[in-house]
């Protein structure tokens, strides 16, 4: 059960930087989710850790020992790929014992591990089946069992739930996490699904363009995003631009129209241009209570538990809000509403150098 430490890991494909000086430390027994949009360098990161890809620069340490140039099979880091890559010519049983076979384990040990693994992933009845005869969920569990049984200490999961249908994906989240925890393995799980990352991870690392933007517990990443991008990628946010009037004990921001908005305390000097981000779920609307801003309801989308409300502010900017479904019937398109939020829910960021629109782009 290693700690994994990456130091200044870089990898480029031509002009594209898939890893741009990655620093990361994964603790022993930790379940880390790496969250980022497609093309952020998530898979590159996993491939470098597993040894399938050599970094251009930087070092990889397992338990403090330099593993950068070590052979793939010496790293004891099992990769579980999106497609599972179950060997089609082998049965479930042979797939699961593949790692043990390779290492020349004796029959008794193999038998033991196989039985416990089949039990663990609830496939005891299907040990003679071939992968193509299994459902997607069973294939996923077989691949997981194979990785767990290989004797690896580190589990690298590349979007392991991606190919499953929505319901199964959600039920396997907790199952996968508890299996890994039971076996006390360290796991690095890569995903582009924010819900998955928030539910499963001990800590979440948000990655973009080969750089880690923020690493922290799901709650930290959710409540205190480090950049506007994180605020918007992990739960959608509304953004307001303006000039900072004060930054402590809470921040005051004056928009171009002269409206003053409130957010958490920050370290941005007065007079600087800044961006205030509020999660759409924390953006509240009311017809009675006065708020910071006025807006007109453009449309309401029913999402089951919540209503998604699109609003048009007086300056022409569009924002959104999520309100509980019981308010259906109390608001309607065309209504004039007041918009407000708790000041602790507003995070103030310095204006991104490339502009706000560029910052929020998800490529």
């Amino acid at each position: 059960m290693p700690t994994v430490r990456l130091k200044g890991l870089s990898k480029s494909y031509g002009d594209i930087k898939a890893a741009d000086g990655l620093d990361l430390e994964v603790k022993d027994g930790e379940y880390l989710c790496v969250l980022g949009p497609t093309g952020a360098g998530k898979t590159t990161l996993l491939r470098m850790i597993s040894g399938l890809l050599a970094p251009d620069k930087g070092k990889i340490y397992f338990n403090g020992e330099d593993f950068t140039g070590k052979e793939i099979e010496e790293r004891r880091a099992a990769l579980l790929s999106q497609t599972y890559a179950l060997f089609p010519q082998l049965t479930v049983e042979e797939n699961i014992t593949f790692g043990l076979d390779i290492r020349g384990a004796d029959e008794k040990l193999k038998e033991q591990v196989l039985i416990s693994m089949l039990d663990l992933v609830r496939l005891s009845g299907r040990s003679d089946a071939f992968p193509r005869e299994l459902s997607g969920g069973m294939q996923q569990r077989t691949a997981l069992a194979r990785a767990l049984a290989s004797g690896a200490d580190l589990l690298l999961l590349d979007e392991p739930l991606r190919a499953l249908d929505a319901r199964l994906r959600i039920s396997l989240r907790t199952e996968l996490r508890s299996l890994v925890k039971t076996l006390k393995m360290t796991a690095i799980h890569v995903t582009h699904d924010q819900d998955e990352a928030l539910v499963m991870a001990d800590r979440v690392a948000v990655i973009r363009e080969g750089r880690i933007l923020q690493i922290g517990t799901p709650k930290e990443v959710w409540d205190k995003p480090a950049t506007p991008f994180v605020a918007n990628f992990v739960g959608q946010s509304n953004f307001f631009t303006g000039e900072v009037l004060q930054s402590s004990p809470y921040t005051l921001l004056r928009t171009a129209e002269g409206t003053v908005l409130k957010g958490r305390s920050s370290e941005i000097p007065s007079g600087a241009t800044a961006v205030l981000g509020v999660k759409i779920g924390n953006t509240e609307i009311s017809k009675e209570r006065p708020g910071y801003l006025k807006a007109k309801v453009e449309r309401i989308i029913f999402e089951g538990r919540n209503l998604h409300v699109d609003l048009m502010m007086e300056n022409g900017q569009r924002i959104s809000s999520k309100v509980p479904s019981w308010r259906k019937g109390k608001i309607a398109a065309g209504d004039q509403v007041d918009v407000y939020w708790e000041e602790s829910k507003g995070t103030v960021f310095p204006m991104p150098p490339g502009g706000l629109e560029n910052e929020l782009r998800v490529e």
Binding site: S50, G51, D101, G151
Partner: protein
């Protein structure tokens, strides 16, 4: 390295002859109008025939490939095997068999009365013969690509209002240029380099006259070389011409097909709709099957009826059996060499697609495929006997020659298969603790085994049936196909027929055995 030194270098070595011995070429070829005429006629006949054969193959092969891939019907598997059958018959036997079927044959042959017996032009006969053995290649290459083309494109086209024919023509056809190129190159090269069958067919028919193709010239002259050393220069000249022309053609063919935009976009909704329904598709399918039976299957196996109907003649099996065993040993050794050296190269090419070197290698691998084997064989013979690097045993030379043109078959097959396999399998195996060798043996190898086997079977049957290269490299060598050629030349037709049948049966048994052995190992 092996590949460059043993395959490519000897293949093109003969080109250097043009520079070093220009004088003798001038003296014996260029200054001898009769000789020059003979050579140019033979070579132009070769290319014309190859061109016509390729066109026929495309026209007749396309509907057949379509039937095999897109249609479901009873007896489909049977049809599938039927198409492959001529592949297993050595071309020497094919040549004899088709000639009896199609051509007007001399009295002494006593062909059965129900043979077609109508073809008197050697030119036409050779075209028919070449269609017989190149047709399966075309159908195979086309259907291989057709399988990969997602039918949803066509379905989408249909739902957007296109008729079946319009959809197939404008959507699917342009997608399989690659398959078409492979098929065309294979057919063209096969036709261009065929020697044994052509020689036999010519010897079998009544009045072949002085008709010759490039490869048969090489075969005949190499045979006479010992008695007439002046033939060395014309021999080299023919080989050089064949090699250069075929290489130029390969490049041109590739460029033309990939670059030219056929006016595929235009649509004639009315006539195409008309052709999509009713009698036309059925007729097309019927014609395709009829073509297969009359022009491919019947000629291939007509030999059986001939032998059954002819008056038996005593046959001394001894020398033929010797030649057969000799052929088999050579084919076996060749196949083993192909596999053990071809698979690593295929892996290298397939896994380093992006690099420069593998790309170059990939192109070079095709060179021996397109160069006529007789020219290749002659070049090889001159190279090795001239170098004194290795002892020049006949068998060794023949093996080297056969490796040169069968090696690409294995490399192509295996490289294609490896590229199909998702690299995630091997990578996952590595992260599960497998060393590279283990990952290959336990994971990749079982997945590509059938392709290796297919390559091996192709290499084996090609080696077994090869005449041109064998004759060109060692004139006196007696392999089974060469022996049959000799028999027919001495008008021992019945014996030749028997020998052909033995050869056919033995090749079949060998193929079946090979399949059985590998299947048996799979199920442990």
């Amino acid at each position: 390295m092996f590949f460059l030194f043993f395959v490519i270098l000897p293949t093109v070595y003969i080109l250097s002859y043009a520079f070093t011995n220009w004088g003798s070429i001038e003296q014996h070829v260029l200054d001898d109008p009769a000789m020059l005429d003979l050579i140019l006629n033979a070579i132009s006949a070769s290319f014309q025939i190859a061109g016509i054969v390729t066109v026929i193959d495309i026209l007749a092969g396309l509907p057949m490939a379509w039937i095999l891939v897109r249609k479901e019907f009873r007896g489909k598997r049977f049809l599938d095997t039927l198409i492959d059958m001529p592949l297993a018959v050595p071309t020497a036997a094919l040549g004899f068999s088709s000639a009896i079927f199609f051509a007007v044959t001399p009295e002494s042959l006593a062909a059965p009365s129900f043979a077609l017996n109508i073809v008197t032009s050697p030119y036409l006969l050779i075209i028919l013969l070449h269609v017989v053995f190149s047709y399966p290649y075309m159908v195979r290459s086309l259907s291989a690509i057709l399988v990969q083309i997602d039918q949803t494109y066509e379905t989408a086209g249909r739902t957007l209002g296109a008729s079946a024919l319009s959809a197939a023509r404008t959507i699917t056809l342009p997608l399989f240029r690659a398959g078409l190129v492979t098929g065309m190159i294979l057919c063209f090269a096969r036709s261009l380099s065929e020697t044994g069958g052509t020689m036999i067919a010519l010897a079998t028919m009544a009045n072949p006259g002085s008709f010759a193709t490039g490869p048969t010239l090489i075969g005949d002259w190499k045979h006479d070389l010992t008695s007439n050393p002046d033939l060395a220069a014309p021999l080299a000249f023919v080989s050089i011409l064949l090699i250069i022309l075929s290489l130029v053609l390969l490049v041109v063919l590739k460029l033309v097909i990939m670059k030219i935009h056929l006016p595929m976009g235009r649509i004639w909704p009315r006539p195409e709709r008309l052709f999509s329904r009713g009698w036309f598709p059925k007729t097309k399918d019927g014609m395709a099957v009829l073509f297969l039976v009359v022009f491919v299957i019947l000629p291939s196996f007509f030999i059986f009826t001939y032998v059954a109907s002819a008056t038996p003649v005593a046959f001394d099996y001894g020398p033929f059996m010797d030649s057969l065993i000799y052929s088999f040993l050579i084919a076996a050794v060749v196949t083993v060499i192909d596999i053990s050296l071809g698979v690593p190269l295929a892996l290298y090419i397939a896994k380093n697609r992006k690099g420069k070197l593998p790309e170059v290698l990939d192109v070079l691998v095709n060179v021996p495929l397109i160069v006529p084997t007789a020219a290749l064989g002659y070049s090889l013979g001159v190279f090795w006997t001239g170098q004194n690097i290795i002892p020049t045993f006949d068998a060794l030379l023949i093996i080297l020659a056969h490796v040169a043109f069968t090696y690409p078959l294995v490399v192509r097959n295996v490289a294609g298969a490896v590229e199909e396999v998702d690299p995630a399998y091997e990578e996952t195996a590595r992260t599960l603790g497998a060393r590279p060798v283990q990952a290959f043996r336990r994971v990749l190898y079982p997945m590509i085994k059938s392709s290796i086997l297919a390559g091996a079977i192709m290499a084996f049957t090609r080696s077994l049936g090869e005449t041109g290269a064998t004759q060109a490299v060692v004139a006196s060598a007696i392999t089974a196909p060469v022996y049959i050629v000799e028999l027919i030349k001495s008008e021992a037709f019945y014996t030749a027929g028997l020998a052909c049948i033995v050869l056919i049966i033995v090749s079949y048994v060998a193929m079946l055995a090979l399949r059985y052995v590998t299947n048996g190992r799979r199920s442990r």
